[in-house]
């Protein structure tokens, strides 16, 4: 039972990250490696705030803001500096490593004695005794659902329409008298905000901030998005965001099962191999043609 709860907890936390990756990879068609830096950025901001006695729930918002800023930087590098999308992300990812160290102070910040969104006096007061084993899961679930619903609502606004259009057919956005670049920057901001939010929740759940916690985050995010969107491609009534969340849980389950039979050191190798297998099965590896707006995109 604990095994399943852990998978759900981890899957849903990474699900928030996957929602962010869904925006960049699927909607914007932007391979955004900033994620590897903005995920620990959320953790670093959280570590700094919590150790200074700030309300842990506020640290979630602050992390989102910090992530959004990182996304804006990536966007500015790409749009204003005219640097290729992949390179813009790599530049920000590298820069964020140092920034995260500055924010957190050291490469490892234990948060065992501090309050967190999962454990504080207020929660202890309201959660019934027999549910206490599920507190973490319930809170993660609430957080994930809020993130998902807000994203769904956003994608139905005019601004959200424009965001969907810019990845689909940037020429149309220009035709609508809007600057493509600004729309991309908004998308990157929201995406990295979500990723940092996931980072904040992750480090509160693990009760430690680790500078290397972001390594491979993009792979986990991509794997979740691809599993989700290709598994549920046929079910049109299911929202893509829901599919992505389920994809994330499935991915975490796969990794958890695989890791049981190997040593912990094998973790990243398993992550990589699993991702490769998923790519090959889902046929996602075929090259996307960016310039042809007419290319049918598999969603």
């Amino acid at each position: 039972m604990d095994f399943i709860i852990t998978i759900l907890e981890q899957g849903l936390i990474y699900g928030i990250l996957a929602l962010g990756v869904y925006i960049t990879y699927k909607i914007l068609d932007f391979p955004d490696l900033t994620v590897d830096g903005s995920f620990p950025l959320g953790g670093a901001v959280t570590a700094l705030l919590i150790t200074n006695g700030v309300n842990p729930y506020l640290s979630l918002l602050a992390s989102f803001g910090a992530g959004a800023l990182a996304g804006i930087c990536t966007g500015l590098i790409h749009v204003k500096g005219k640097v290729r999308d992949l390179l813009s992300g790599i530049i920000m990812m590298t820069a964020l490593w140092t920034i995260n160290l500055y924010i957190a102070g050291t490469s490892n910040v234990p948060l065992f004695s501090q309050d967190s969104i999962f454990k504080n006096d207020w929660l202890d007061g309201i959660v019934p005794e027999d549910l206490s084993g599920y507190t973490t899961l319930i809170i993660i679930l609430i957080l994930t659902v809020i993130a998902k619903v807000l994203l769904d609502l956003y994608l139905k606004t005019k601004s959200g329409y424009l965001l969907r259009a810019v990845g689909d057919n940037p020429v149309l956005v220009t035709s609508l008298a809007k600057d493509q670049g600004n729309v991309k920057i908004v998308g990157l901001a929201i995406a990295n905000g979500l990723v940092a939010l996931a980072g904040s929740a992750f480090c509160q759940e693990e009760r430690v901030f680790e500078i290397s916690m972001g390594t491979g985050a993009i792979v986990i995010g991509l794997a979740s998005v691809i599993i989700g969107t290709s598994l549920f491609r046929k079910i049109t009534i299911m929202q893509a965001t829901t599919a992505v969340l389920i994809g994330s849980v499935i991915y975490k389950a796969c990794v958890a099962v695989a890791i049981r039979n190997f040593q912990p050191q094998a973790m990243k190798l398993i992550t990589a191999v699993l991702f490769l297998v998923i790519l090959i099965i889902s046929m996602e590896r075929r090259k996307k043609v960016k310039t042809d707006a007419g290319t049918e995109r598999n969603l």
Binding site: K158, Y161, D179
Partner: protein, 257 residues
């Protein structure tokens, strides 16, 4: 009124492949004019449209709209008063969004894309009505993704979307070239209807000499970055496809094509 004055345009400047397309190119289009532009490949038709819309920069020269210099204005800003339909039907619509979402996007052109509802329920009946005048049955498929429509259907939508909001200029870049003859005919008739209804100043590039003679009130023939024929009024109304074709061939033979 749209005016191009003393336009110079080079491709690959500073390299061995430097090619001068426009040298001191002038063009004046009066309000409400419907200009058809014909010419061989590489004659500068599409480049001219790109220069007007701001998709490519010019080396020298000025572009004026109603006397205001817009040479430095960015493409997306110019597009507030320009509607453009491309040769590729995919360029004017979003394939992964539904017909309704596409219509809503276009309907908001010139306004703020904020956090309001993407699709206004009150406008749906208007969208239905304007789609129904296409006669393609799209009004009953509002929730279908545009990516699953045919090229002709998409182009009809692109035309509708680009002229939905108040614009002054309509730029048509071989917008019937990728369609089958029957659909092309339909799109051309629809274009004419919209242009007349909304009194749009229109520039249409086409390879179809019949469309060029039949539609519009002015005909331009371009060759190697210059205008070699400019017909208006009665002269334009009387001209036949054969005459244009003859002229076309003469020019082509001259330069050994």
């Amino acid at each position: 009124m749209l005016e191009l004055k003393g336009i110079y345009k080079y491709y690959n400047p500073g390299t061995v492949n430097e090619m001068c397309l426009f040298q001191n190119f002038d063009l004046k289009v009066e309000d409400g004019e419907f200009v058809s532009v014909v010419g061989s490949n590489g004659s500068g038709k599409t480049s001219m449209l790109n220069i007007i819309c701001g998709s490519i920069p010019v080396e020298a020269g000025k572009i004026y709209i109603n006397g205001t210099d817009i040479t430095k204005e960015k493409e997306f800003r110019r597009n507030r008063r320009i509607g453009r339909v491309y040769q590729n039907p995919a360029m004017g619509t979003c394939p992964s969004m539904t017909i309704l979402e596409n219509m809503s996007l276009a309907d908001n052109k010139g306004k703020v894309y904020g956090f309001g509802r993407g699709t206004s329920k009150a406008r749906i009946s208007y969208y239905r009505e304007s789609l129904s005048q296409l006669g393609l049955g799209l009004e009953d498929k509002l929730d279908i993704k545009v990516g699953s429509l045919s090229g002709g259907q998409r182009q009809a939508m692109a035309l509708l979307m680009s002229t939905m909001t108040p614009i002054e200029f309509l730029i048509l870049d071989e917008h019937t070239a990728a369609l089958d003859p029957k659909t092309a005919e339909l799109i051309m008739e629809l274009t004419d209807k919209i242009v007349k209804e909304k009194k749009l100043t229109t520039i249409m590039v086409t390879h179809n000499l019949r469309y060029a003679t039949e539609y519009g009130d002015r005909l331009l023939m371009m060759h190697q970055g210059g205008i070699v024929l400019d017909m208006k009024g009665e002269e334009k109304q009387k001209v036949s496809v054969d005459e244009i074709l003859k002229l076309f061939n003469e020019i082509s033979i001259e330069c050994g094509n």
